[in-house]
Amino acid sequence: MSTIASPAHGAVASVHGLATHLAAATGSGCTIDGVTGKITGLCTAKGSISLPVNYAALVPMLVLFGAALVVLLLSATMPKRPYTSPWPAVPGLWASITALAGIGTVVDGLVQWHDVGGSGVVPLALGDQLFYDHMTAFFVIMFGAATVLGALISDGYLVREGLDGPEPYVLMLACSAGAVLMAQAAGLISLFLGLEIMSISLYAMSAYHRKRAASGEAGLKYFVLGSFASAIFIYGAALIYGATGSTQYLNIISFLISNAVVHNGVLLAGMGLVIAGLAFKVAAVPFHFWAPDVYQGAPTPFVGYMAAVAKAGGFAGLLRVLMLALPTQASDWRPIIWGLATASVLFGSVLALAQSDLKRLLAYSSVSQAGYVLIGLQPGTTGGVTAVCFYLFTYTFMVIGTFAIVGVVQGRGEARNDLSSVRGLAARSPWLAASMLVLLLGQAGIPLTSGFLGKWVVIAAAINKGQYALGLIGMLGAAIAAFIYLRVALLMFMAPEPTTAVVDVEAPAMAYAGGDLQSIATAGLSGRDTVLVLRAPPASRLRVPTPTAAVVVICVAFTIFAGVSTPLLSLSHAITLPWYM
């Protein structure tokens, strides 16, 4: 397959498969000329009239939206804050419901994975609006896991900040449902629907910290720029519709295969705008400007959740659009993705070097991580799809775990977001520091972590398509990025920064004979045998809420597990977009 010279030719070969596939499955629709590959008639899969709604495909969204409704209804039955009824006395009620819905989604994703395995099944559902295939199931599992992790780390944070309530969980559930829809979408309209559900939830979540001005600013910025990006996306979708006569991916490709589009300016403009709109969501350079401000201002656990879900949702959309709807234009979009990828990897890492705020630093690091996913997308091959899915799945765990720790370290009111907040973490809380170290090394791509394996498959996909320069730029970017993560790691293992000494007046001196006092200054205070004890404030042990600790353990364990074992890789290898090969 790698010997095929032009992508268009490859696409023709593949659409043979597509059309016969569809024709066999539907018994009607399009016919295909075996020699030229021309398709006559529009390929429509199992008709929406003859088949009822395939609820199996809808279960994840039903579970997530259903849970959101349950949370809303339950909260409506309760008195306003401060709560007095016995119900909300159950600690973590909203988080528990959300996490349970997430677990349900994961389980359903696994069920779907086995359900969609049968051959000869056209992977379309709900009037051809949704895909029901391995990729859907994979992303469902991913978003379900992100929901569980996100809910668990939000609970401790919201309680600490005095913000606990049902609203963020409703938003989180809706956001996950929107992301699922993005991964399932079989057309640009469904994709846009999912995109907006996801984005609007995220705007509100970013602004949720009512007591911090930065949070409101983040929400507003995200909203204004995000709406702009959505508008760009929908305009691009309209142009594609104008050029091809459909918004459904499979119809777009069958049109492009069977018709030689000579003046394809409208199509290319539409493609460019759709890519730009989605690149905004995944925070790829040069559409990344919102990311540092939003990451800095938004509540920390939501940032972790957002970094995972918004990126994965955006990439799911990009994968489907580029690989299913526009494979014939691969020679046009591959250079665009090349540019986005290299710019994200390099600028993301370099700009992160200059940051002194931990969350901004991680924002830029997430920009460079988006670059790696784009490197996997760039070749436009099945191997690339596998790599992208694997990378996103592992990144979900790494980034949520990292932000879980940042949320703990920054303290009440997000008082300390600067880099020095992690200084001396190893002395204060060795296990937290060790966990952070694993997650940072994972993002840096050090072997025996999932991050390394992710970079390996992504760059293998690029090199397999002859993109040596892209692979090399990616790895050199990783070396720059490693410096960022090392800076944080170094600070964690440095001695705690000297703070103003606490002066205790205590007596008698002999009581401290066995202590570990740094310096004792005796002073004759009122003639009594007293000492002035100068010492650093006792290293306050960080209080880590149990759910957050569980999330950290899960994320670290998964980062190592997926880095040294096969299962996730095998899973992502089963994901193929069978229409284009």
């Binding site: 790698s2 070396a479 170094l490 095998s570």
Partner: protein, 535 residues
């Protein structure tokens, strides 16, 4: 099924490191016992393996191999084995680690220090023993993490800077290795050479890689070589090294200088020259030139240092030059000499850093201006230092001589002028090392220097194994050579087969008329082979 000795050698220190991490922080004595105990047990296994290793040309291939599927979808296997090239590197690693862990005192968090040391030992062993390119890369990269934390654990004022520099330089170099390995694998797989399967194992890659066009081979070797050159370090890429070695605590400097940089030299031999023989022959002048510059540069810069530890650190640059000169001479003697030099250098540099650390523990300074006349109060320390220095210089009867002699004679046959420059390096190394000895141990002793303590019995016990190795190799190198040579013969035969235009001059002893076992022969392209290439 035979006892999986190599798996044990790789995994035992890893298990020890995990056990140490699980110990409570304040159990210092217990963690010391546990850590050093594991390292000594490891040494026992390594000795057993060295003794059980079969010498002779009939056993040129890999022994004690262990093959397990690891990451199936990517064609990655757990594939380890040992041959004459890696055998003694494993042995010297196993010897140096317990000494480095037991002897020098570590002030800050000894438990973490020992755990990182064991992790580093595990990674080094895996690097030497790996026969799968992916596994090799993983192990090669993983060494960075413990290396980083070992340097940070030192007491130098610039340790954070030095550790980051060490990490980033090698990580950037590894970027090329990463792309190189992937490209090799994918190119080899796409060529569908008969007899190859899509896996990262070294035989499979070598079969395919020798068929690649010369230009591809040169680019790939360049990528591999860049990563290894940073790790070794060869001269333009060496600037991380003096900082790292001087800021690290004694035990860490010993293994960083003694073992870690051998990973680069070993890598270029095993994964560079073996995979891309034609490119290696074509690019040999570049490597030789860099190495020759390194020898002269290292010696000159070492000679002008005002600090004992920096002097020793720059000396390792010269040592690396010798190894590379030997390896790229492409004669049996030269390559054998290069391997022996790697082993020697592990022993001598390890011992040198240990003694330098002892000087530090007594005087808390490395500055020559503060030292002097230590011989009066510490005669045994002085004599030990002298022996180690002489071994490094290459005095006949000590180990350094064997390696340097083989390197020079082997390379003189094929690349005369580089060997001549390298010979000059022998003289220069005598200059700076003897000079250092003179300035530290001789001359008038100031009051504070006259009162230093001589070596304790514990210190003598620690350095004794290293001295024993130094003398043993110097007096009776035959057991080493017997085990190393078959593998080198095989490698040279591989070189001659791969490049029909390449012959070792008749004055050399490097003809390819060795009895290579049929299953170890790497087949060559019959089309490009000129009949009668072998004389």
């Amino acid at each position: 099924m035979a006892f999986p000795i190599l798996d044990v050698i790789i995994l035992l220190p890893l298990g020890g490191a995990i056990a140490l991490a699980a110990l409570p922080r304040d159990r210092v004595a217990m963690s010391r016992r546990l850590g050093v105990g594991v390292a000594i047990l490891e040494l026992a296994f390594a000795i057993w393996m060295t003794v059980a290793f079969k010498a002779g040309n009939a056993h040129a291939g890999f022994q004690f191999t262990s093959h397990q599927s690891w990451i199936g979808p990517l064609g990655i296997n757990w594939y380890v084995g040992v041959d004459g090239i890696s055998l003694f590197l494993v042995a010297v690693t196993a010897l140096l680690f317990p000494v480095a862990m037991a002897s020098p005192r570590v002030e800050r968090s000894p438990r973490a220090h020992l755990a990182w040391m064991l992790l580093l030992e595990s990674a080094c062993m895996a690097t030497f023993l790996s026969l799968d390119a992916f596994l090799f890369f993983v192990a090669f990269e993983v060494t960075l993490v413990p290396g980083y934390f070992l340097i940070i654990g030192g007491d130098g004022p610039r340790r954070g800077y030095a550790a980051s520099k060490f990490f980033l330089y090698t990580f950037a170099g590894s970027a090329f290795l990463f792309v190189g390995i992937l490209s090799t694998y994918l190119l080899v797989t796409s060529h569908h050479v008969a007899g190859t399967n899509s896996s990262f194992d070294i035989i499979s890659l070598a079969r395919g890689a020798t068929h690649l066009p010369l230009a591809d081979q040169e680019l790939l070797l360049g990528a591999f070589g860049l990563a290894f050159a940073v790790k070794m370090p060869l001269v333009p890429f060496h600037t991380w090294m003096p900082d790292a070695y001087t800021q690290a605590p004694t035990g860490a400097s010993m293994v960083l200088a003694g073992i870690l940089f051998k990973l680069g030299a070993y890598g270029i031999l095993r994964w560079g020259i073996f995979l891309f023989p034609r490119a290696a022959i074509a690019l040999a002048p570049v490597a030789l030139t860099l190495a020759a510059i390194g020898i002269v540069w290292g010696c000159v810069v070492a000679a002008v240092q005002r600090d004992l530890k920096r002097l020793v650190a720059y000396g390792t640059v010269a040592g690396v030059g010798f190894i590379v000169i030997g390896l790229f001479g492409f004669t049996v003697q030269g390559i054998t000499g290069g391997i022996v030099e790697m082993v020697n250098h592990g022993l001598s540099t390890g011992a040198l850093f240990l003694v330098v650390g002892m000087v530090w523990e007594r005087r808390r300074t490395f500055a020559f201006s503060e030292l002097g006349g230590l011989q009066v109060a510490a005669p045994i320390l002085g004599w030990v230092f002298m022996v180690v220095v002489l071994s490094d210089i290459g005095l006949p009867g000590l180990n350094g001589f064997i390696g340097e002699f083989l390197v020079l004679i082997g390379t003189f046959i094929t690349h005369r002028w580089w060997a001549v420059v390298a010979t000059g390096g022998v003289v220069l190394s005598a200059v700076y090392l003897l000079w250092a000895y003179q300035r530290v141990f001789h001359g008038p002793a100031r009051a504070i220097n006259a009162g230093v303590r001589d070596m304790t019995w514990a210190e003598r016990a620690a350095i004794a194994p290293l001295l024993a190795g130094i003398v043993f190799i110097g007096v009776y190198p035959q057991p080493l050579l017997n085990r190393i040579q078959p593998a080198v013969n095989h490698l040279v035969a591989h070189l001659e087969q791969a490049d029909p235009g390449f012959h070792i001059p008749s004055s050399g002893v490097g003809h390819a008329n060795y009895a290579v076992p049929p299953d170890q022969v790497v087949p060559v392209v019959s089309a490009s082979k000129v009949p009668g290439a072998h004389k």
